[in-house]
Symmetry: C2
């Protein structure tokens, strides 16, 4: 985790002079693609087991070029990937929350979704936010912050949903936090057991405490 500095694309570069942002300069597109493949790799293999080379290869780029898009190195990629993955899950959760007919339904559907992803990936696709955040705990603040935001957002979505079905705000917040923790934990159990059963059972059990 050194501190390199390139002929910088400004990180999120808003202020280039001449041939700049009409829409999204090719570089931003490449950067986004790299974030996506990185998120996928981190989810399956974890942060430390995924090399810069792996990410570059998956993005069809020589590994040296990675540092053009991410001057901050692996840490910057990690933070971006966690933020992206967290956002993806938030979006999925929001969609489910919109369609669910009640909180119990939401829990069941969310657990089912995570279980499906897990099974389809041969139990490699757990929660990327959790895995990466724990791996670098205390060593990469930007990554922690990305994870923090992801969890807050998920919790807010569930909390809002609970409120919508008549739960008072205070209780909803606590229940939402329990739901996030329980699902996260059940995902781990499912991964370790190589079975979606824990996730399924948890949804049922969580539902009971919601009644």
């Amino acid at each position: 985790m050194k501190k390199p500095q390139n002929t910088k694309p400004d990180g999120q570069g808003q202020a280039s002079a001449k041939p700049a942002n009409k829409k999204i300069s090719k570089g931003q597109k490449t950067r986004q693609q790299l974030i996506e493949v990185a998120a996928s790799l981190f989810q399956k293999q974890g942060f430390h087991a995924t090399g810069i080379f792996d990410i570059a290869e998956a993005g069809n780029l020589p590994k040296g070029s990675i540092y053009y898009h991410f001057p901050g190195g692996k840490e910057e990629i990690g933070a971006a990937a966690v933020a992206f993955a967290g956002g993806q899950i938030a979006e999925a959760l929001e969609e489910l929350a919109g369609k669910a007919k009640d909180p119990a339904d939401l829990m069941t559907k969310a657990a089912a979704l995570l279980g499906d992803v897990l099974v389809e990936s041969d139990f490699q696709g757990g929660c990327p936010v959790c895995l990466v955040a724990l791996e670098v705990a205390g060593k990469a603040e930007p990554i922690r912050l990305s994870a923090l935001e992801a969890y807050a957002r998920w919790q807010a979505i569930i909390e809002k949903h609970l409120c919508r079905f008549g739960m008072e705000k205070k209780k909803a917040a606590a229940q939402a936090e329990l739901a996030i923790a329980a699902i996260e934990g059940a995902l781990i159990l499912s991964q370790v057991q190589r079975s979606p059963a824990p996730l399924r059972r948890l949804a049922r059990q969580l539902t009971l405490s919601l009644a």
Copy 2:
């Protein structure tokens, strides 16, 4: 993860001929010590971020000697460390279960214990079982099995405790699984938030669903 082979201490060596097991051959003691320091390092830094050298150093041994005690290399150390850490937590849990005046009390005390460990380690000491297991998911079966056993044991302890307080077996099993998942998840939230609050709130919330 290669497959080395030494002039073997038989892994758990029961069958040496001449100068063998009166009590615990010094080697077994060293091995145990290595497992303990490895477990501690894995808990704080994770599996991949912890080098063989780190473990050797912490055990006051040159790194080459590690392979005398663990012919299976890092994977064997990992499996042993996870099993050990899992056992330690199980023992602590059993002690708490013995002293707790009811299930709610057990949850509260368990969460408090984990929270204390977390805070004292500057939020580096999460759950080693979870972290290591996720890091090597799909790549080191022995480690997965160690984690599996740990979770099963924890769950059994809680289940038994719930039964002791009058819950029917089936429901107790489901509640115990929820408790494990929720605590595990809350530990992650606490670590990411750098605050023991999630763990504390979860214990309260879990208690409600127990009533």
